[in-house]
């Protein structure tokens, strides 16, 4: 039996949420000292 589109979207939504988690987990947290030096953090 073919799943209705809404059910397929719901499954797809879970997949997308998982990918979003993966992308956020890859966030390379720089020290704010590095940001300050490299990009002028707090220079204005």
């Amino acid at each position: 039996m073919t799943e209705p589109p809404d059910a397929e979207n719901a499954i797809f939504e879970g997949f997308l949420a998982n990918i979003g988690d993966t992308c956020r987990d890859a966030f390379p947290r720089r020290s704010t000292a590095t940001l300050r030096q490299g990009r002028g953090w707090g220079s204005e």
């Binding site: 997308l16 990918i19 979003g20 992308c23 956020r24 947290r29 704010t32 000292a33 707090g42």
Partner: protein, 179 residues
């Protein structure tokens, strides 16, 4: 807001810098994830995330908590920064399909980890094929991890509108991925 220097683990910083550092630690991931869903490479997303927080430091004195949470305010800055960046770059978005080395995976085998990276690359490439409105709502909801209520508040629409737009965008994204 008064901006007195205060002692921190990284030396002297102003109260505004300290506040922005706390925001960076709490919401840097959400900003980065939103940008990552729009940009071709991790490096671009990383650089633009740094720019967002630089802008936030400069504007922090104007932040008004009665008008919304810091996360929403930062994502508004991210949307503007992305808009400016896209105008500057004017080059076609392209997500390389040779894997995304920035992505970590808990998959047990190297083959499965490679497969997952390729899956994420395919998905991000498909998002890049969508129209601006679809990319925006998918980036906010799944890239930054906002719920539909937060997304609605940020876009200034009702939550039901977000649900409908999201559902349609998901359908279009699925179709792009199937082609």
């Amino acid at each position: 807001m008064t901006d007195h220097p205060v002692r921190s683990s990284s030396g002297m910083e102003t109260a505004l810098e300290q506040r922005c550092r706390e925001w960076y630690e709490a919401h840097g991931q959400a900003v980065y994830g939103y940008l990552r869903f729009h940009l071709a490479s991790a490096e671009e997303a990383e650089d633009l995330t740094a720019e967002v927080f630089l802008r936030a430091v400069r504007a922090a004195g104007r932040f008004d908590p009665s008008r919304g949470a810091p996360k929403a305010w930062l994502l508004r800055i991210a949307r503007n920064a992305l808009h400016d960046y896209s105008r500057r770059e004017r080059r076609r978005r392209h997500v390389p399909m040779d894997g995304l080395p920035d992505l970590r995976s808990d998959a047990p085998s190297p083959e499965e980890r490679l497969l997952w990276r390729e899956t994420v690359a395919r998905l991000l490439a498909a998002v890049a094929e969508l129209g601006a409105g679809d990319r925006e709502i998918i980036g906010l909801r799944y890239g930054s991890g906002l719920d539909t209520g937060e997304t609605a508040a940020l876009l200034g629409v009702r939550e039901a509108v977000v649900r409908t737009r999201l559902w349609r965008a998901l359908g279009r994204l699925r179709r792009v991925m199937e082609t």
